[in-house]
């Protein structure tokens, strides 16, 4: 594929056609809504579009799916900040911060911080897709089972960092959830583990219903504990405003998080959720005020949202250039392309340059438009805080149940959601963080598959995997992320010792 400015300009004018713009905007409105509803994820939003895309022109079909995808990843932050319930798993880190900020009457500023981060990440990833696809795809090709295993281990290391005060409880939850992640057929022999003859468990415990339950039901039950009144006093529903300082202070944070997003995006099997957690964790380590994390940190929100939205374009890089769908949404794009007779891969850029450049340029424009659509949604949805809890609580439960059912049309998922929710409430009451649940359930299956594959590849000689450069890099980062906090503590001790000596 040759970088071709004419195709880019052609694509630009294609996107600007009124009908195409309308599709982008409508797609964003649908996407943000789907992302904001608990249980409905960006992947599900794209899946809903697939049947419609069959009867559309290929460019429009792909623009619609791109818009819904980007909007869906963004939408999760709205309920995360306002209600403390992440709309999608990728917004879980945002929820830790958002809830506290909303209580402090800074919901407007928090929403804007997240929106700016999301837009920045989105534009960064869209530009990477447009300009650097071929080299990025080369890197993606190098990511095999050993790299995925390392990435999963690195991701799990976040469990220890999330809540350092409660490290034992976090580890306990993390280990138990890794165990839950093994329910269902084992990846190699297909032997059903811990399924107790319940055929619905054959494919494992569904992750999304568990996360919806664990994140939303406890919030609802907390509302019911004190059912009178509203979530925050009317006077505390703040305006959508952002200080210039919020952006200038976070310039480096934005870039770092965007890069993490793009990097995780191009890796097969890892998506926005993992990117958000990793980026949040890195931001915490780099922060000058790490103690604020979990108690309302803008840095946290910006890092998580930038990285999550930084994934979307990266996700499509291996698909467009190599024809490899690295994630569930990418697989849906592949399906829609195949039905239109477009075959992703190197031929796509010569045979269907028009379509593919329209889509890639559209991706940039969609992410710019996302800021304005997001702003509108933030404005409308802030009113949620004015709704009495007695109305809000049952509405959330209904939305969570409907959303969970809608994804797979499967009643078992709804039961899973409620059971997980009740367990989650018990956990919160006893000081167990639910964050490790998300990490372990998302990373567990990835770790297991990568581990067994690495084992087969090297016939059990695990050390062989250190002959792969990316594995070594990821290993080094993992080690560093464990050692650095210790080093930091050590240095502070040295400093205070010196200070003490100087004083005496």
């Amino acid at each position: 594929m040759v970088f071709d400015i004419n195709h880019i300009i052609g694509g630009f004018f294609n996107v600007l056609q009124p009908y195409n713009m309308l599709i982008c905007i409508a797609g964003l409105f649908i996407g943000v809504l789907i992302g904001a509803l608990p249980g409905l994820t960006a992947t599900m939003g794209v899946a809903v579009c697939v049947p419609f895309s069959y009867v559309m022109e290929p460019e429009q079909a792909l623009l619609l799916m791109s818009a819904v995808f980007c909007g869906g990843v963004y939408g999760g932050l709205i309920p995360a900040i306002l209600l403390g319930i992440p709309g999608t798993p990728a917004s879980a880190p945002t929820a830790f911060e958002g809830r506290a900020l909303t209580q402090a009457g800074e919901s407007g500023r928090a929403l804007m911080a997240g929106t700016v981060g999301a837009t920045f990440g989105g534009i960064m990833t869209a530009l990477s897709l447009l300009l650097f696809s071929p080299p990025l795809a080369m890197v993606a090709m190098k990511v095999g089972p050993p790299e995925q295993m390392m990435l999963a281990i690195f991701g799990l290391s976040v469990v220890c960092m999330l809540s350092p005060d409660n490290i034992r409880k976090s580890l306990l939850v993390g280990f138990l959830c890794l165990l839950f992640a093994t329910v269902g057929q084992d990846p190699v022999m297909g032997y059903p583990r811990f399924t107790f003859n319940i055929y619905q468990l054959t494919g494992g415990i569904s992750v999304i219903p568990v996360l919806v339950g664990v994140f939303s039901i406890p919030e609802v039950l907390k509302m019911i504990e004190n059912p009178s009144g509203k979530l925050v006093e009317a006077s505390k529903v703040s305006k959508l405003a952002l200080h210039v300082k919020d952006i200038t202070d976070n310039a480096f944070n934005l870039f770092r998080s965007g890069l993490i997003g793009v990097a995780i995006g191009i890796m097969p099997a890892a998506g926005p959720d993992i990117a958000a957690f990793l980026s949040y964790n890195e931001a915490k380590k780099a922060s000058k005020e790490p103690e604020k994390f979990g108690k309302g940190s803008y840095e946290g929100i910006i890092s998580a949202e930038t990285a999550a939205n930084g994934c979307t374009g990266g996700d499509l890089v291996p698909l467009l250039t190599l024809g490899i769908p690295g994630s569930a949404p990418a697989a849906l794009f592949l399906g829609a392309m195949i039905i239109h007779g477009l075959r992703p891969g190197p031929m796509l850029f010569t045979e269907n340059a028009n379509v593919v450049y329209t889509m890639m340029v559209g991706f940039v424009i969609i992410n710019i438009l996302m800021f304005f659509v997001g702003w509108l949604y933030c404005r409308w949805s802030s009113n949620v805080l004015r709704i009495p809890k007695t109305i809000l609580a049952p509405v959330i439960v209904v939305l969570a149940a409907v959303g969970t059912f809608a994804t797979n049309q499967n009643m078992f998922d709804v039961v899973t959601m409620f059971v997980a929710g009740i367990i989650g409430y018990g956990m919160e009451k006893h000081g167990y963080s639910v964050a490790p649940v998300a990490l372990a359930l998302l990373l567990g299956p990835m770790l297991e598959e990568a581990l067994t594959l690495t084992n087969t590849m090297y016939a059990g000689h695990y050390l062989m995997m250190f002959t792969r450069p990316i594995t070594v890099i990821l290993f080094a980062i993992t080690v560093f992320s464990f050692v650095y906090p210790l080093f930091k503590i050590f240095r502070e001790k040295m400093k205070s010792n010196k200070a003490a000596k100087a004083q005496s």
Binding site: A26, F29, I30, L33, L37, A47, V48, V50, P51, F52, Y54, V55, M141, K142, G144, P145, Q185, D186, P187, V188, M189, G190, P192, T195, N197, Y199, Q200, T202, G203, P268, A269, L322, G323, I324, A331, F333, L334, G335, A336, I338, I339, R343, P344, G345, P346, M347, W380, N383, V384, I387, V395, N408, Q409, N410, F412, E449, T452, L453, T456, M457
Partner: protein, 334 residues
């Protein structure tokens, strides 16, 4: 409250779009031409259960044929993706549906043996009435550049040289990929090492990067990688060469009498009245024969093949036995 309002609005939008989508197919009255049986079936919308997600191979195949069958039946066909449990949840629901012809579902090679493959499955080969087969998708055997394998002879020689060491990528335990491996090994007396990926895309990526030696993706999964020159095409497992990949020889041309395809079809719950089954067979046959359908199916990478009625019924039973024997006689752990 504005949020609730906007939610309702968007919902209405979605629904109206759905309405437009299906409204496009003008109902033609009854089945054209053929002697109509006495029953007035179909007189309402037909539900088609696809036990896998939208956009996947199963979904694309069913949506394509349904689009054309709708016109023949004069009723809308609503696709319902009921996913989870490796496809068993949707099929369990289908097996429990009323056998009146208003609930149909997607079915493929291995599904009649699901009760052997998965624990707790209540349906079996007798729970379904086969209606039509619409495609039989072959696999393309591809090898990594690193492996040095160029054709079937190389592949077999390599596997014989070091038994159980050639890495064979499988797109999931007990999928069509696994059965291909079992059949090929039995027939040629070789043994290879299984590398189990979750999905075909991961397997072919691994072959492209050289981590895995051989994989057997479906045509649509394999073509981009073959065109990009990332993998070496060895052979296609169908009887004849495929129009989309005319340069890839069949395994037979390589001197081994071996074919393996994953057929896809449509079934109803057992106990459907004969005249209803007949109406469906006829309608799907006419949809299948439509040249527009054939062109679209080819573009989507499907290897069309049609069976219906007693023919398909006999094939369905035979296929069940073949796979059952393979499952009973195989220990994946080898």
């Amino acid at each position: 409250m504005k949020k609730a309002l906007s939610f309702l609005l968007a919902l209405a939008m979605l629904l109206s779009v759905a309405g437009c989508g299906s409204g496009g197919t003008a109902p033609t009255s009854g089945g054209a031409g053929t002697a109509q049986p006495k029953s007035d079936y179909p007189k309402k919308t037909i539900e088609m259960i696809v036990p896998f997600g939208a956009g996947g191979g199963a979904d694309i195949a069913i949506r394509l044929i349904s689009k054309y069958a709708e016109k023949e039946l004069g009723q809308n066909i609503v696709i319902n993706n009921i996913t989870g449990g490796s496809g068993t949840i949707g099929l369990t629901q289908l097996s429990g549906a009323k056998p009146n012809g208003y609930t149909l579902g997607y079915f493929s090679s291995t599904n009649s043996n699901d009760d052997l493959l998965f624990q707790g499955i209540k349906y079996n080969v007798d729970s379904f009435q086969p209606i039509v087969e619409i495609s039989a998708d072959p696999h393309i055997i591809v090898a990594s550049k690193k492996s040095g394998i160029k054709n079937m002879a190389d592949l077999i020689a390599k596997a014989k040289e070091k038994p159980g060491e050639l890495k064979f990528g499988v797109g999931g335990a007990w999928t069509s990929w696994d059965f291909l491996k079992i059949k090929l090994e039995k027939q040629t007396g070789i043994s290879m090492k299984r590398m189990v990926f979750q999905g075909g895309a991961a397997a072919i990526t691994s072959v492209a990067s050289g981590d895995c030696d051989v994989a057997v993706p479906f045509v649509s999964e394999a073509l981009p990688q073959i065109q990009a020159g990332n993998v070496v095409p060895i052979a296609i497992t169908s009887k004849d060469r495929f129009d989309l990949a005319p340069d890839v020889p069949t395994v037979k041309e390589n001197g081994i009498d071996f074919t393996h395809t994953m057929w896809r079809g449509i079934v109803a719950p057992a106990g459907v009245p004969d005249d209803v089954a007949q109406t469906l067979c006829d309608a799907f046959k006419r949809a299948y024969d439509n040249p527009e359908y054939q062109a679209e199916a080819l573009k989507a990478g499907m290897f069309s093949e049609f069976k219906a009625g007693a023919d398909f019924e006999a094939f369905y039973r035979e296929n069940h036995k073949t796979y059952k024997e393979m499952i009973d006689s195989t220990n994946l752990a080898q």
